[in-house]
Amino acid sequence: MIRTIIVDDEPNAREDLEKKIKADPEFDVIGTSANAFEAIKDINNKHPDVVFLDIQMPRISGVEMLSMLDKDNMPRIVFVTAHGEYAIEAFKKNAIDFLLKPVKDDRLHITLARLKENHQPQPVVTEALSTELTFVPCYQGSRDYLINVKEIIHAYSNPMTGVHLVTGDSDQEFQTNLPLKVFDDNSQLKRCHRQHMINPDYIKFIEKLENGLGQISTYGNHTIPVSRNFMDNFPSIT
C-alpha cells in the first residue's frame, strides 16, 4: 500500500481526488488537509509516502511548503495545480510529477502507475524548489499565525511540546510544526545547542562558561545556552 496524503484547500476538489485515488487498491489515503499548516503537521506525524500537493493554497503555497518540510523525511511530492506554474514547468515532465486541475482520469492513472513503480522522494527536485524561509507557520492556542523569520529571536524544541519560537515582538512565544532541522537548512537562524537556535541579529554578547559551555545574552535579555558541539558556530568567543 502506498500511504497518501492529499492537500487542497477546495473541499470538492479534495474529495474528488480522494475518491479517484481510493479507486486504486494500491493506494491508501491516510489523510487530507485544507492548507499548508495542517499539511505540515500531518506529514510530520504520519510520514506518508506520497503527498498530492495543491500549489494555490491560503497563505503558504505548495511550493513554499516544501521548504518547511524536513529534507531527511521528505515524501514523494505530486503537485496539483490550476495554473501551469513556471517553477514547476521548468522541470521536464519526467523529472517531476504534476497534475493540472481539473485532474483528468487518464492523466491521473499514468501518474498513479508511475508511483506504483517508484515512489521514492525526489530530493533533487524538492531541494531545487525549496527556498529560504521567509514566513513560518505557527500557532498560539488555537489560532494560526505566520511569523516573519527575521522577527524570531530564539527557537527551541521541547521533547514534550515540540518546537517553540520566541519573537522580538513583545516577547511572544509561538509553537510550530516545523522541526528545527528546517531552520538549519532554510533560515538565518544558527544552531547553538541540540535543542536551541538563535537569530544572530539579536545577539548582545556571548559568555564563555565552564566545561566549554557558553551562554548567549540577547537584546531582549534572554539567556540561551551554547553547547560544546556548536561552539564553532560562534567564532567570536573562541
Binding site: D9, E10, P11, N12, A13, E15, D16, K19, A34, N35, F37, P58, R59, A82, K101, P102, D144
Partner: protein
C-alpha cells in the same frame, strides 16, 4: 419782419419734431419696434408701419396751432410720418401713409363754414407724393441690395428735403392751376423754409435714433439668442457630431433664430435640416450646393444675400429658400473644416443682419462643441475599454473555477451540479444582455449572487456571505461590474487566503443623495500594492462618470478585516 415770421413758424415746428422724437423713442421700447426695423416685408409688419406713421402724419397735422395758420395752410410736420413710413415700409405703405395723412388733412381743416379748397387738396396730394416717393426710394435701394443705407440719417435727410421741395412745387402748381398762384406763392414764401428744415432734420434725427436703438437691440438679441441656443444645446449629448445630435441642434437654432431654415452638414453629407424645404432637403444625402462645397474647400464664410447673389436650391426649382449664410465649422484644434452650418431665408424675406452675426457666433459655439465632443468621445471610449478589460479579466478565471468546481461535484451531487450550471448560465446570460454600462443595483446584486453560488460551491463551508441591502435601494443605478469584481477580490485576495472560515458582508448605507455599498471581509489581508488594479479601475470609472465626490475607498485592519466602500450618487440617470 421776415425773420420774425420765420421764427414764428420755426419754433413750433421744432417743438413738434421733439415730440415726434420722444414718441419714436417710446416706440423703440415696444415690440412694435422690431416690425419697424427688421426689413421684413410681411403683411403684419407693413400694417404696423402703416399705422405708426399714419399716426405721425395725423399728429403732424393736428399739432399745428392756429397761430401758425397762414390763411388756410399750416406749417406742419406731416411729412415726417410720410417719409419715414415710405422709407421703412416701401412704396405701397408710403402711398397709403401719405394718402391717409392727406385725407385727414383735408377733413380736419375744412368745415361747413370753410369748405374744401384748392390748398387742402394740394396738401393732401403733396403728402401722398411724399410717402410714395420715399417708398420708391425704399424699393430702389432694396433692389440694389443697399437696404442698410435706408437707416442712414443723411439719406433720410436728403429724401425729406427733396420731397419737401416737391411739396412746395405741388402747392404752387395747384395754386396756379386753380388761379390762386399769387396766394400760394405768398403762403409758401412764409412756411416753405421752416418746414423744409424741420421735416428733413426731424426725419433724419428720428431715423438716427431708430438706427442706434436697432443696433443696441441687435447686439443684445444676438447675444441673448446665442446664449439661449448654447444653453439649450448644452444638454444634447455631444458625444459625436452625427445626424442625431445635429438634428436636435438644427431644430433649436431654427426655433430660436426664426430663420427660414437651418442645415448642418459634415464634409460630405447633409446631417440635419430644419425648417422650410424639409421635404426635399433630406438628412443623409450628399451635399448638393456648390456654395457649401466651396465653403468647405476654402474655409470661408459665404453669404448669398438673395439680392446681389441669390441662392437657388439645386434639389427643387420651387424651393422657397432664396438667401443663405454658409459658415464653416472648424475643429479648433487643427483649424480643419469638419462641416458647415447654413442659415436660410425664403425668397420673400431679407436676411437679417442680426442672424448673420448670430450665425457666425453659432458656428464658433458648434466648433467648440465638436472639439468637446471629440474629447467626450475619447473619454467614453476609454470607459468602454476599461469595461471590456474588466470583462476579459473576469470571465476566464471565473469560468475556469466554476467549471472545475462543477466537475468535482457532478459525480457526488448531480442535482447540485445541474443547479450550479444554471447559475453559471444565468451569470453569463446577464453578461450578454448588458448593453448599457449602467444597471440597477438589484441587477448587479443578482449578478453577484449567481457568482457567489459558484464560489460557495468551490469553498463550501470556508465561505459565508451575507447580503443586507434595503429593498428600496435596489432600483438605484450603478455602473455595471461595480460590485462583482470587488466581491471577487474580497474572496480572491481575502477570504480564500484564510485558514478558517471566510465571512463576507455586503451592506448598503443610504445618505441624502447618495449611498455607500460596503463589502467587508474578515481576512484583513489588503495590501496597498496588491490592489490588483481592479479596485482602482472601478474607482476611476466612477469618478469619470460621477465626479471626484464619488468612488471607492478601502480600509483595512490587518488580519482583522478589510472594508471596501463604494460611494455612488442616487439616481440621476436611467439605465
Amino acid at each position: 419782419m421776415q425773420n420774425i415770421l420765420f421764427l414764428e413758424h420755426m419754433i413750433p415746428l421744432l417743438q413738434h419734431m421733439l415730440v415726434f422724437l420722444g414718441l419714436a423713442y417710446l416706440f423703440t421700447k415696444t415690440p412694435v419696434f422690431t416690425a419697424l426695423v427688421n426689413n421684413s416685408l410681411s403683411l403684419p409688419d407693413k400694417a404696423i408701419i402703416y399705422l405708426v406713421f399714419s399716426g405721425f402724419c395725423i399728429l403732424g397735422t393736428s399739432f399745428s396751432e392756429p397761430s401758425i395758420q397762414t390763411d388756410d395752410a399750416i406749417a406742419n410736420t406731416r411729412a415726417i410720418g410720410a417719409v419715414l413710413g415710405g422709407l421703412l415700409g416701401g412704396p405701397v405703405v408710403g402711398f397709403l401713409v401719405g394718402i391717409t395723412g392727406g385725407i385727414h388733412r383735408v377733413f380736419s381743416m375744412s368745415s361747413i363754414s370753410d369748405p374744401i379748397n384748392y390748398i387742402d387738396i394740394a396738401c393732401a396730394a403733396a403728402t401722398t407724393f411724399e410717402g410714395l416717393f420715399a417708398g420708391c426710394v425704399h424699393y430702389y435701394l432694396s433692389r440694389k441690395g443697399k437696404i442698410k443705407s435706408l437707416f442712414s440719417p443723411r439719406l433720410v435727410w436728403l429724401v425729406a428735403f427733396i420731397v419737401g421741395l416737391g411739396h412746395v412745387v405741388i402747392i404752387l402748381l395747384f395754386g396756379i392751376y386753380t388761379g390762386n398762384g399769387v396766394e400760394a406763392w405768398n403762403l409758401e414764401k412764409e412756411i416753405a423754409v421752416p418746414m423744409l428744415i424741420a421735416n428733413s432734420v426731424g426725419a433724419a434725427l428720428i431715423m438716427y435714433m431708430i438706427r442706434e436703438q436697432k443696433r443696441a437691440c441687435d447686439e443684445l438679441s444676438s447675444s441673448t439668442a446665442a446664449w439661449r441656443i448654447a444653453d439649450k444645446t448644452a444638454s444634447i449629448i455631444y458625444g459625436q457630431f452625427n445626424q442625431e445630435s445635429s438634428r436636435k441642434i438644427a431644430k433649436i437654432i431654427q426655433h430660436e433664430t426664426r430663420v427660414g431654415a437651418v442645415a448642418i452638414t459634415d464634409k460630405n453629407r447633409l446631417l440635419a435640416f430644419a425648417g422650410l424645404g424639409e421635404d426635399h432637403h433630406l438628412p443623409g444625402s450628399p451635399i448638393s450646393s456648390t456654395d457649401t462645397l466651396k465653403v468647405i474647400r476654402e474655409n470661408k464664410v459665404l453669404f448669398a444675400d438673395g439680392i446681389s447673389k441669390t441662392y437657388q436650391c439645386r434639389l427643387k426649382k420651387s424651393c422657397e429658400l432664396g438667401s443663405a449664410l454658409i459658415i464653416p465649422l472648424r475643429d479648433d484644434a487643427n483649424n480643419e473644416v469638419v462641416g458647415t452650418i447654413k442659415l436660410y431665408e425664403p425668397k420673400n424675406k431679407l436676411f437679417r443682419n442680426i442672424n448673420r452675426k448670430l450665425g457666425e457666433n453659432l458656428a464658433h459655439l458648434l466648433s467648440g462643441r465638436i472639439l468637446a465632443g471629440h474629447y467626450e468621445l475619447q473619454r467614453e471610449l476609454r470607459i468602454q475599454d476599461q469595461y471590456k478589460i474588466l470583462m476579459a479579466q473576469i470571465n476566464p478565471h471565473f469560468l475556469y473555477n466554476a467549471l472545475t468546481t462543477i466537475g468535482h461535484i457532478t459525480g457526488k451531487q448531480p442535482d447540485r451540479a445541474r443547479n450550479l450550471l444554471h447559475y453559471l448560465s444565468d451569470y453569463f446570460r446577464k453578461n450578454l444582455t448588458i448593453s448599457n454600462d449602467t444597471v440597477t443595483l438589484g441587477y448587479e446584486l443578482e449578478h453577484v449572487e449567481s457568482y457567489l453560488e459558484i464560489e460557495k460551491a468551490r469553498f463550501e463551508d470556508r465561505l459565508h456571505v451575507q447580503i443586507d441591502i434595503p429593498e428600496h435601494l435596489l432600483t438605484q443605478i450603478v455602473p455595471v461590474f461595480t460590485l462583482q469584481p470587488i466581491v471577487e477580490n474580497s474572496i480572491k485576495h481575502g477570504t480564500s487566503e484564510l485558514l478558517g472560515t471566510g465571512i463576507i458582508n455586503i451592506t448598503c448605507i443610504e445618505h441624502n443623495d447618495s449611498f455607500t455599498l460596503t463589502v467587508e471581509d474578515n481576512a484583513g489581508l489588503y495590501k496597498n500594492s496588491n490592489t490588483s488594479g481592479i479596485g482602482l479601475k472601478i474607482d476611476e470609472r466612477i469618478k469619470m462618470r460621477y465626479g471626484n465626490n464619488y468612488g471607492i475607498n478601502i480600509r483595512c485592519e490587518p488580519e482583522q478585516w478589510t472594508k471596501v466602500n463604494i460611494h455612488l450618487p442616487k439616481n440621476k440617470e436611467q439605465a
